[in-house]
Symmetry: C2
Subunit: 465 residues, 2 copies
């Protein structure tokens, strides 16, 4: 999308911001708008790469953004819109004058049009759609779920019928749309629009002029339907190492395609979701969201975490009389909890990631479960011995060593079992396997670890005290 019809001169002089460094040029634009030098700000903006232009627009407040937008032509706007994140789009899109926005969307991919319309108030979206010449391409996209293959597909395709010759085909393509989403593949459909196969543009161009497309056509490979979850589409895309994945409607008609560019974004988004959920964060939390938003999102999970921490505390409370006789037992609680929680989270992380990459089920029953049990037992024995000896020597009491060592062994085995089974159970319940998994895993290892340790200590109390 970046490369569409740039003016060559502007292109070569555009400054590209360093990755991982704040772009001084972006902040310069913002500062000029702040100090009312709008003409200078607009001129500076015009020389930036569209990715940086988008950053500058996103950094302004609503009033300043509207003033700067007044000085931007719709072509510049069309170039920068793809670089706004979905959250930035929600702030920026409503600030654009509707005629300017309509003109920009008319030269943008339909998928971007759908994203922008989603970001507008309903009445404004209807006005833009009513005036948009390519509404026919954009409108069907609005029906699909945001996180489905239909929600991420691009409908701009080079589509031909199989009876054409290559020469006819090239003439048809010459007259067709200027910016297909997949620039290297022509899709072949029958008169109903049902996908029959595809031809690399490369092969089409270099074939003899009178060859029938039917004879050049490669058969249909993997496809998805519009309602498939984007994460499953990503798995198919990666498993079959595709360049582009055709999206079909229920009748097998080709309605769009998802490309690796789209799916790269999806992969990053899904990985972020899993990482966040593992520690009880809500998916779309960003480091720059307002404090109140962050609190509203994080507090429920921290509250759940607190409730489960009280459950672990209740186990300790049940042994208060044992602790009253041997206060030194309390010293070992953080060791049991820390070691069990970390071992459990390692297994959970492995399982969640394998599920996300579609690598989990294939090996699970044969290899993974017995393996994790063995790792739990082996590391439990190693750490049980180590912690037992340290506990014995530190507190000069062999029976305390026995209690803490045996509890450590038990905790490590429990950590492996719960670390693996919690994501499996969450998935079986239809929840995300990563959903606050750390909270559940550490609670399980804390409670059972404390129960093993304090229970053993209570049994051995006459020897330890």
């Amino acid at each position: 999308m970046v490369q569409r019809r740039p003016s060559q001169h502007a292109r070569t002089t555009r400054r590209i911001a360093e990755i991982d460094e704040p772009s001084a040029a972006v902040w310069d634009v913002v500062a000029r708008v702040d100090s009312d030098e709008l003409a200078t700000a607009a001129a500076l903006l015009h020389n930036l790469h569209p990715a940086d232009q988008a950053d500058a627009l996103a950094a302004l407040d609503h009033r300043d953004r509207r003033r700067l937008l007044d000085r931007i032509d719709s072509h510049t706007l069309a170039e920068l819109l793809p670089f706004l994140t979905p959250e930035e789009l929600e702030h920026v899109a409503p600030d654009v004058a509707l005629p300017q926005l309509t003109a920009a969307l008319d030269e943008s991919p339909a998928q971007l049009g759908a994203d922008v319309l989603h970001a507008l108030p309903r009445s404004d979206a209807e006005i833009v759609l009513g005036r948009l010449p390519k509404a026919g391409l954009v409108e069907p996209l609005l029906e699909h779920d945001d996180e489905s293959a239909g929600g991420i597909m691009a409908p701009e395709l080079m589509v031909l019928n199989p009876h054409l010759s290559t020469e006819q085909a090239l003439n048809v393509l010459r007259a067709a749309m200027p910016a297909p989403a997949v620039r290297d593949t022509v899709y072949i459909v029958d008169t109903e629009g049902v996908l029959l196969g595809s031809i690399a543009l490369h092969a089409l161009v270099f074939a003899a002029p009178l060859t029938a497309l039917r004879d050049l056509m490669e058969p249909v490979g993997p496809t998805v339907t519009t309602d498939m979850d984007q994460e499953d589409a990503l798995k198919i895309f990666q498993r079959y190492a595709l360049h582009a994945l055709p999206v079909l409607d229920r009748d097998g008609r080709l309605v769009g395609v998802t490309t690796s560019d789209d799916l790269l974004d999806i992969a990053q988004q899904e990985a972020t979701e899993d990482m966040y959920r593992l520690v009880g964060l809500v998916d779309d939390e960003a480091l720059t969201a307002p404090v109140t938003t962050a609190l509203r999102r994080r507090l429920p999970w921290l509250l759940l975490n607190l409730a489960t921490a009280f459950a672990a505390a209740a186990v300790v409370a049940a042994f208060e009389s044992t602790l009253a006789r041997i206060a030194a037992l309390a010293i070992f609680l953080p060791i049991i909890a820390g070691q069990g929680g970390n071992a459990g989270m390692q297994v959970t992380t492995l399982a969640v990631r394998a599920m996300a990459l579609g690598e989990f089920d294939r090996h699970f029953t044969r290899i993974v479960l017995p393996r994790e049990v063995m790792i739990g037992i082996a590391s439990g024995i190693a750490f049980g011995l180590l912690v037992g000896v340290v506990g014995w020597l530190w507190q000069d009491n062999p029976w305390l060593g026995v209690a803490v060592g045996a509890a450590m062994l038990g905790t490590m085995i429990v950590a492996g079992l719960f670390g693996l089974s919690i994501p499996i159970v969450l998935r079986a319940l239809g929840a995300d396997p990563a959903l606050a998994a750390s909270i559940f895993v550490t609670t399980a290892t804390d409670m059972l670890g404390f129960l093993f340790f304090l229970g053993l200590a209570a049994l051995l109390i006459d020897r330890i005290a």
Copy 2:
């Protein structure tokens, strides 16, 4: 790569395994080899999608794999090789007869050739390279670091000089290599090979025949050099929403290109690394690695975790006399530790992910640091009050409530500060910001949380006891 020159009949009848389900067809092949029905196994294999063929080969042991490979032609081998993971390639590549492997690599992309040669014993790699007709393309790739842009680039490009007309250009391309890595873009270089610009194949095909390429050429956009880290290349690719990213040598000569297909794999690999490192797992641990491998990799980190747990335990030990007077204090240790650790890990996860996506530095000084301090204070006040009141009512002692509530406030603030600063410090030291961050963060919150709580309790001991 999947779509290269398949026989059409075989293509349409090939079975595609369900995503997320073990493919019965794959296990069928494995079972036939097991029971010595090699001809049937080879016939079944031939009807599978190359992705599934790769799975079947990877699932066999060395002896069985060699027997099945004897019945596979080099073209089938070339089709399935791209679907083996790097670890699978290490097992499979040495089992292939060298002439068969050489023939397969000759019809494969050079980048795959480099990967396969890396997986072979040195002497075998030299034999293959000596016989490989396209050694000239493969050999330069072997020099680059695996995780650099040079290590993931493809050298097969459509490259032309700017003085050609479009008609001449198409004639040159017709005679050139059949499978360029980027099928939709022609790169324009000078006589030294220095990149001057690019033209969409699409634009070239549909331009007037006598147009000079110079006049169609779009200027050079973002590029990377061969020695750039693949993760930085990924950030540039995503920031500028590119389709393909040219890779230049130190003199600005175009030597290859990385595409979104490669970078999608890199993005997944980097996300996996970060998720693993956050919990102290080594990058390339897989759920199916041998138990001894897993132990060798996980034990050092669990040992570090244990050492840090002992540091937290030492804080508790320092207050043993306080705990001896009031055993109920031990009950609140898991609550302090659990809440602080979770809050800290939330911030660490946000920071590590933002760093990976290149979104961290731009907003950091202005927004992130003050925001996390505020979130820590606000949630610390909320949970301090809540835990204080619960502690007071549970143990019927308002001063215990004061101690645990104030300690909770302090712990939450510390969690925000350490959760944010530990990845920053790790990165400043040149380490991965995610490196075992959970271990450091939870240790810091445990130690300081216990110190706050037991220290306050010791000060207030005459009122609490």
